[in-house]
């Protein structure tokens, strides 16, 4: 056997190529996109409420994310579309935010761990979709009214609207839970993002 072939065969073992690995890699591509695009979209919308809640809608690009919460949450929209959502909670420091006196890295991690437990057990059916949409649209109206004309973002509609609204409710309830667990101002400790895909 010549040297070239010996060298080719000497490569260390790696994960076997498989459809499952391809799917996982695809999810990672979109999850990283979601992770990076999320803050930009947040700024673009200029939602004051969203900036404090950290709810991020990624549905316009049909984002798919692989995050901390195992699996996806199936969701049928009011208009009958079949969607899946995923929520990602992680220490703010993982977003590049510096640790604060109030929330050093270890405390951020504890808060994020608690957030993940909450999301893993969360009953998504408990959300009143119509009410969630109405609340979202009120925030949206307020944000648009506060934005310089010409820089206003279009209103969400369809599945994007519904899933964004649901995500906002999830985040509000998560914050309430974390506060109840003793994490004051949880938005300073936990970064939260939502991604979804629809058929």
């Amino acid at each position: 056997m010549d040297l070239d072939e010996l060298l080719r065969r000497s490569a260390p073992p790696s994960a076997r190529h498989s459809p499952a690995l391809d799917r996982t890699l695809d999810r990672l591509v979109v999850a990283t996109e979601a992770h990076v695009r999320a803050p930009r979209r947040l700024r673009r919308f200029g939602f004051v409420a969203a900036a404090t809640t950290g709810v991020v809608g990624l549905g316009t690009v049909g984002a798919v994310a692989a995050g901390l919460v195992p699996g996806w949450v199936p969701w049928a929209t009011e208009s009958g579309r079949s969607c899946q959502m995923q929520f990602i909670a992680q220490p703010r420091g993982d977003d590049g935010e510096p640790a604060t006196v109030e929330y050093p890295a270890a405390d951020q991690q504890r808060a994020a761990d608690e957030a993940r437990r909450f999301l893993a057990d969360f009953d998504y059916r408990s959300i009143d979709t119509s009410q969630a949409i109405a609340q979202w649209q009120r925030s949206e109206d307020a944000a648009i009214a506060a934005t310089v004309p010409g820089e206003q973002q279009p209103r969400l509609d369809g599945a994007d609207l519904e899933l964004s609204a649901v995500g906002r409710v999830v985040w509000l309830r998560l914050q309430a839970h974390l506060e109840a667990e003793g994490f004051t101002r949880p938005a300073d400790a936990v970064g939260f993002a939502q991604a979804w895909r629809c058929e």
């Binding site: 010996l6 490569a11 260390p12 076997r16 591509v29 990283t32 695009r37 692989a66 990602i88």
Partner: protein, 164 residues
Amino acid sequence: MRSALRSASADLLRYFERRVRDLEDAADLLAETMLQAWRRRDVLPAEDERRRMWLFTIAAHVLANQRRAVRRRSALAEQLRSHLQQESASDPAEATAVRDAVLRLHAAQRELVMLIHWDGFTIVEAAELLGLNPSTARSRYAAARERLSEALTDAAAPASAGRT
């Protein structure tokens, strides 16, 4: 960007798997590479092959930074990490002697050989990734091959002698 990452992701994963001690670290490094690529998407090259080189350049920087600092687990890589725990292929015993010889090369030669023979880059591409001019890479590569041939011959000689 998505298509560039999707087409290169398996190769990028292998690139990291071949350069880390803990296979699961490869998942975190790949996630970090993807994050950095997305953050720099405004300068993504237009041509497919340049995109691939661009991604591997980012990967090389991510790897170098990982070696200088304690790496944090990436939440984004969680699923891939668990996948690697389950899916690592077996390691053919016959490859280990050659690999050991590669790993004993001087670092500057070693990475060149790895890029060419394990990752499938041409000498010119490997030179670019290592920041070398092609002629330097060629002479370095020739020296590496010579060293490897000697090492493998030396390794084979005692075994042959033992059988006679």
